[in-house]
């Protein structure tokens, strides 16, 4: 997957503000990685989940978040100006906001203590529900202020996260 263009961070909405799509992209990638890890724990942990259907359902959420990240990255790439002569676009965003986001985007092992199959599944589900809730809230929060061309995409992403949360809950 291509990295985020630096111009997405610097250009933003044309007012020197970070483009909200950058943070949403990083978050979507981070969510996918985190949920992948949770699914892996469910499937291959020392005490595998007694509910393989849950692992499959959570894997679908990870796939969706990965696809969200790809779609957002495409939007950012489309609006990025060509790089200056003699420069190479950064593969990762920079700047205070991007650094902060990148730091939070580092995948970390989920705090799942697979003490018993049922509690592992419950903890996994609770973690993914929290991830989806946050993703929905963050996407929904920026929809009112985005350009038309991005509002529909981000609105759909918010709706997807809300729908997954509803059916998993």
């Amino acid at each position: 997957m291509a990295g985020l263009p630096l111009a997405g961070v610097l250009a933003g909405c044309g007012r020197g503000q970070p483009d909200p799509l950058v943070a949403l992209t990083i978050q979507a990638r981070s969510d996918a990685t985190r949920i992948d890890t949770i699914v892996q724990v469910l499937r291959t942990g020392s005490t595998p989940s007694t509910d393989p259907a849950l692992a499959d359902a959570l894997a679908a959420v990870a796939d969706a978040r990965r696809t969200h990240a790809e779609a957002l990255a495409v939007e950012l790439a489309d609006e990025a100006p060509p790089p200056l002569q003699g420069t190479v676009p950064n593969a990762e965003p920079t700047g205070p906001t991007a650094k902060q986001s990148t730091a939070t985007a580092r995948p970390t092992a989920p705090s799942i203590e697979p003490t018993a199959p049922i509690s592992a599944a419950d903890t996994a589900l609770t973690s993914v529900l929290a991830v989806l809730d946050k993703a929905h809230q963050r996407a929904a929060a920026v929809v009112p202020s985005l350009p038309r061309s991005h509002a529909a995409l981000v609105g759909s992403i918010a709706a997807c996260c809300a729908a997954y949360r509803a059916v998993l809950h």
């Binding site: 679908a60 796939d63 969706a64 696809t67 969200h68 779609a71 929905h136 929904a140 929809v143 009112p144 202020s145 038309r148 061309s149 509002a151 529909a152 995409l153 609105g155 759909s156 992403i157 918010a158 709706a159 997807c160 809300a162 729908a163 997954y164 509803a166 059916v167």
Partner: protein
């Protein structure tokens, strides 16, 4: 004491009154809400009691949104479109499975219409209304899909056609 002047039109009303593409998109979304109310009225007869309650809740939600949008359009001076006497369904409803399929289709249509409003408006308040319509339709559609063999249960980009 002089009466306070009547409030001016809200920003979303101004956009509806002046932007033809915005008004057309909202009218289209209103049309899908009319259709959804009609569809739920049809399909509820084919559902068992356990699902009947869910269908009635969803129909109530669509009626509320239909009425709100109708009022918003009227307040902006745009005559809201009326419901059709009947609607052509994508499938014949004969049992629980086909009834659920119709509910999923009605919600998908509503989601697509509200997503289209997001592409055709700038006012933040109207954006929130459209996002709520899109999200609610996506949630309801997913809840119906989860009760059937329909896949995917949740589209990755609800409303995108």
């Amino acid at each position: 004491m002089k009466p306070s002047p009547p409030p001016g039109p809200s920003p979303e009303n101004r956009e509806l009154a002046t932007a033809s593409d915005t008004a057309a998109a909202v009218q289209a979304a209103l049309g899908t809400e009319h259709a959804a109310v009609w569809c739920y009225g049809l399909l509820v007869a084919f559902l068992p009691p356990a699902l009947d309650r869910l269908a009635r809740q969803d129909a109530t939600a669509h009626r509320a949104r239909r009425d709100f949008i109708s009022r918003t359009l009227a307040d902006a001076g745009v005559p809201p479109i009326a419901a059709e006497p009947g609607y052509r369904t994508p499938n014949t409803v004969v049992d629980q499975a086909s009834a659920i399929h119709l509910a999923i289709s009605a919600e998908a249509d509503a989601a697509a219409a509200w997503r289209s409003v997001l592409e055709r408006c700038d006012d933040p308040a109207l954006r929130r209304v459209a996002l709520e319509g899109l999200t609610d339709a996506a949630v309801r559609g997913a809840q119906w899909a989860a009760r059937s063999e329909t896949a995917p249960v949740v589209p990755t980009f609800p409303g995108r056609t």
